[in-house]
């Protein structure tokens, strides 16, 4: 059994959706962990789900990153353990310093809920190996603060080391302004750390895992991760 922790903060609301997406993959045992825990236990990977931890009060993710369990997540990441942050989880990862940059208010100043198209920029990661470079994926976004921002040097470094994993694109794969829903720098929808084991993304792959939901394009994020973990186990 591959064990994946789904961390629930007060105000998380996509924890259940991540749990269900993982549970549908044979051989995967998702485990809810309450943020007050101090140890991860025997986990192969960690997911920080979306939602409004602490009501987004102060700043999205700013309070959740102080949760006792986050210290354990930081150690787990430092040891090379895979960590995936989705939406609010991405915001928490940035606040915790596990990923560079910050998520600013959408440029429309409004919450945006709609399907977007992502272009896979790096299929050579443990989160995207089931995709191909340049592949277009359809999945929803639902956030008020998804406008990725970092200084130019950081963005250049991210690009150089393959840290830009997903970008917002149009249906033809073009990076048009209209295809960038929130004004994110260089159309960035998801980034990875230098070590390649921490991914943050604003769109919701866990909401695109079955045809009945309108898209299964998000499934690859989870299957890639599980494939990586199994490979690691076998080796």
């Amino acid at each position: 059994m591959t064990r994946v922790a789904v961390i629930t903060f007060p105000g998380s609301n996509c924890d259940y959706d991540c749990y269900k997406a993982l549970q549908a993959i044979p051989g995967v045992e998702p485990v809810f962990l309450w943020h007050r825990e101090t140890a991860l236990g025997d986990m192969d990977a960690v997911i920080l789900p979306g939602g409004f931890s602490y009501g987004d009060y102060l700043r999205p993710g700013a309070i959740a990153r102080m949760s006792p369990l986050m210290a354990a997540v930081e150690r787990f990441a430092a040891d090379g353990g895979p960590v995936l942050g989705i939406c609010n989880g991405f915001q928490i990862l940035c606040e915790a310093g596990l990923l560079p940059g910050a998520l600013l208010r959408n440029r429309t100043m409004r919450f945006i809920s709609r399907p977007v198209i992502l272009r896979v920029e790096n299929a050579d990661t443990l989160f995207t190996s089931d995709y191909a470079n340049g592949q277009l994926l359809r999945m929803p976004i639902a956030h008020a603060d998804g406008n990725y921002h970092a200084d130019g040097a950081t963005l250049d470094r991210l690009e150089a080391e393959g840290g830009v994993v997903f970008r917002y694109a149009d249906r033809h794969g073009q990076l048009t302004d209209a295809a960038n829903p929130n004004g994110a720098a260089r159309h960035i929808a998801g980034i990875m750390n230098s070590a390649g084991n921490v991914l943050g993304m604003m769109p919701h792959p866990e909401r695109a895992v079955e045809p009945v939901l309108g898209s299964s394009d998000g499934l690859g994020v989870f299957t890639s991760l599980i494939r990586h973990l199994r490979g690691a186990t076998v080796a």
Partner: protein, 779 residues
């Protein structure tokens, strides 16, 4: 026997009852003016004295005035509401609880209800709407159900008014921020814009929750000796007497001039939701009720009334936000995100542990008693002692005089023959685009893209379709829900207009492939003391009762919102129908958009010469007049049956109800699945009608469906069997092909790009203009 005897003895004692509670220092003396300020008529006050056998204390006066307010007591509506059908084998809980509950099979049940927050939203649109969502969520999860969908039914004035834009954007943001944070998908609803709602918007929110039938919990204070607990946020001075006072009657000193509108905290709501469901699953509690309108007073006394028990509580034990709050204030505060919980005796520590996990406060404030008296203490000293049943059920109810107003009679009988209608191809196209860009008709994307519609991974059809559809994990089927009401029709003909609202709701459900099963309703009206308003109300209830009986959709609950008036003028009567339906298989739903070029378009129903009350008359001729369209409830019923048969046989590729804007708008919406590449439409209508009524008339009982060309004959055959008029009117064209409808006198032709630009661009364009909270700035 002995128990009954005991109860009677107590009641007798309190009646002869020494003097009741001793006067509390600082409480005002009771005067006729004070009684009137509490919204109580002299004869109602006499009734209170009879019940108590003495004069009420000040705190008791406050309690009665809240419980006997229109909001809690349904004074002017209760008698008529008895006309509504509420029974069916699948109804588990009808009206009178936090929410209605129906059986949906496989051991599952649905809890659902709709509520209004019109008045607070007119004053403070963001918080008014947000707290409206908060209240309806609590009504559902206090039944043990997990909320899984929200719908919102909104009415505003016209968007060219900057204050309307302020109200509209504030309400939408308030609904969005609250529901998004709690994580409940918004799957549908409607928005209408019409001068008739200027100054008094309608903001109704509906919530649907799912539960296992054995997890159902009712709001009953059962079990003598059980512990009464106040849970959630602390009690403050906000919203005191929101259920009784009109905002104009607020006092002027600083403590009383706080906004009547409460402030919502969706984060606390999310914690309350999770904690409540954990408490119920652990079987530590016997009943829960939201401290909503009239706060602690209504939740405590209503829960006791349902169980036939009494409560003995001490307000000094209620956690408060500020010092020196009086019993009166604590009992009548409407601070948000609070609930009254009846815990099993001995389980208090377990309840507290669960709440602590969710970082929520809980205080033991009293016990359940056997004497059927609502007894309130302050540090042990009794400040109110009222028999529960007369307090909760004894509110005088009235049947008022009602007659139709001259204004409506004139509007309905208006001579519309002099109007100039579009005749040439160009005129017809211009009129069509004006309608398509009317905010009431144009895409509501500006609204629903601010609502999370996909969280919880259950949404099969989100906002923008005929009805929202969401699956239930572990259940093979899915649930569909819609809200509907065209207030213009109801204004022009209250009974027929309400029947149309119910008929349209049912049509929306069958369009997605769902069998309509139950109704919740939100009756938004003006001042019922005005005969012309009471007439509208009575007629609407009669119409709703008849439609629900014929459709076999019992009413399981709802809300009445009176006094929706601005500067003395009532809104259009707006009985919003929230209807739920069941889809047999979650993986087989029907969408409103055409699927592929070449598919056949079939019209079910008939085009008639009916322009009365239409969006066309409002938008192009600035008229709200004429006879609204006829409705044939039995015919609608057959249409519903036909649709369900067609869905079951999997013959349909799309289905879209024909409503505001008529057939032309209906077909255009179906063509625009993809805003960047609308499909073409090639339709010929040979009806001997002029272009305006044919294309823009809003005749009822019509659905435009599409099917594979080889199935068209079978669809027509089924229609004939059900006695529903049907004919093939054309075909779906490829992307890039024009949208074209030929009538016998004119051709409506628009290219797809224009169609999409107008439909999707209208509301965002209007909302780029500045919004002004003019009234707020002035006061």
């Amino acid at each position: 026997m002995s128990e009954r005897h005991g109860r009677r003895k107590v009641a007798t004692r309190s009646r002869s009852g020494a003097a009741g509670p001793r006067p509390r220092p600082g409480d005002p003396r009771l005067t006729p003016e004070l009684v009137a300020d509490h919204g109580l008529l002299p004869e109602e006050y006499e009734r209170i004295r009879e019940i108590l056998g003495r004069d009420p204390a000040y705190t008791e006066l406050g309690i009665f005035s809240a419980m006997w307010s229109e909001h809690c007591g349904y004074k002017n509506s209760r008698r008529l509401l008895r006309l509504l059908p509420t029974q069916a084998p699948w109804v588990i809980q009808g009206p009178g609880e936090n929410a209605g509950v129906i059986d949906i099979g496989e051991g599952f049940a649905l809890a659902f209800k709709i509520e209004s927050h019109n008045h607070p939203s007119a004053v403070e649109p963001y918080q008014g709407a947000a707290t409206g969502v908060g209240g309806i969520l609590r009504d559902v999860f206090t039944m043990g159900a997990r909320p899984i969908a929200i719908l919102d039914s909104l009415r505003f004035g016209d968007l060219d008014d900057p204050r309307v834009r302020y109200l509209f954007s504030g309400v939408v943001k308030g609904i969005g921020d609250y529901g998004n944070c709690v994580g409940i998908p918004n799957v549908g609803g409607e928005v209408y814009f019409d001068r008739g709602y200027v100054g008094n918007p309608v903001v109704n929110a509906m919530c649907i929750g799912v539960l296992k039938q054995d997890e159902l919990i009712r709001a009953e204070a059962a079990g003598v000796g059980n512990t009464v607990m106040a849970v959630g946020s602390r009690t403050g001075r906000d919203g005191i007497h929101g259920a009784t006072f009109a905002s104009a009657e607020l006092g002027e000193d600083s403590e009383h001039s706080r906004p009547q509108v409460q402030v919502g905290d969706p984060f606390t709501e999310k914690l309350l939701l999770e904690a409540t469901l954990e408490l119920i699953r652990g079987e530590h509690v016997v009943g829960i009720q939201d401290m909503g309108a009239a706060g602690l007073t209504s939740s405590a006394s209503e829960m006791a009334a349902r169980a036939g028990t009494g409560l003995d509580i001490d307000v000094a034990k209620v956690p408060v936000r500020e010092p020196a709050m009086s019993p009166y204030e604590i009992l009548l505060s409407e601070s948000q995100e609070r609930m009254l919980v009846i815990a099993r005796k001995g389980d208090e520590a377990k309840v507290r542990r669960i709440l602590e996990k969710w970082e929520l406060g809980a205080a033991e404030i009293g016990t359940v008693t056997d004497d059927a008296v609502f007894r309130v203490r302050e540090n042990g000293v009794v400040v109110a002692e009222i028999p529960v049943l007369p307090l909760v059920k004894g509110c005088p109810t009235y049947e008022r005089e009602g007659f139709e107003s001259e204004e409506v009679l004139r509007a309905r009988a208006a001579d519309l023959s002099g109007l100039e209608h579009p005749e040439t191809d160009g005129e017809v196209a211009d009129a069509f685009l004006a309608l398509l860009g009317s905010p009431t008709i144009a895409s509501k994307g500006w609204v629903y893209e601010q609502y999370d519609s996909t969280v919880r991974t259950g949404t099969v059809i989100g906002p923008g379709g005929d009805a929202g559809v969401f699956r239930i994990r572990g259940h093979p089927g899915a649930v569909a829900a819609t809200t509907d009401c065209n207030g213009r029709y109801v204004y022009l003909h209250p009974r027929r207009g309400t029947m149309i609202a119910a008929a349209e709701a049912a049509r929306n459900l069958v369009c997605v492939g769902a069998l309509p099963v139950a109704v919740t309703n939100n009756l938004n009206f003006g001042n019922p003391l005005k005969p012309e308003i009471y007439y509208q109300f009575r007629e609407a209830v009669i119409g709703l009762a008849e439609a629900c009986r014929i459709f076999e959709t019992p009413v399981t609950g709802g809300n009445v919102s009176f006094y929706n008036e601005y500067e003395g003028r009532a809104i259009y009567p707006t009985p919003v129908i929230g209807m739920v339906g069941l889809v047999e298989r979650a993986d087989h739903v029907v969408r409103h958009t055409f699927a592929s070029p070449g598919d056949a378009i079939v019209l079910l129903g008939e085009n008639r010469d009916e322009l009365g009350g239409s969006e066309y008359l409002y938008r192009l001729h600035a008229q709200v007049a004429g006879e609204p369209p006829a409705v044939d409830l039995m015919g609608e019923r057959e249409l519903q049956r036909l649709m369900l048969a067609l869905v079951r046989e999997r013959l349909l590729l799309s289905a879209h109800d024909c409503s505001e804007g008529g057939l032309a708008v209906c077909l255009a919406e179906s063509a625009m699945y993809d805003p960047e590449a609308p499909l073409g439409v090639e339709v010929t209508l040979n009806d001997p009608l002029p272009p305006a009524p044919l294309l823009f008339g809003e005749s009822q009982g019509r659905i435009a469906v599409s099917c594979a060309p080889e199935d068209a004959q079978r669809v027509l055959g089924r229609a004939e069997r059900y006695g529903v008029p049907a004919r093939r009117i054309g075909s779906v064209g490829p992307p890039g092909a024009p949208f074209r409808i030929r009538t016998h006198t004119a051709i409506l032709e628009v290219n797809g790009e224009t169609l999409a630009r107008v439909y999707y661009g209208a509301t965002p364009g209007l909302m780029q203009r500045p919004a002004v909270a003019a009234a707020a700035a002035g006061g």
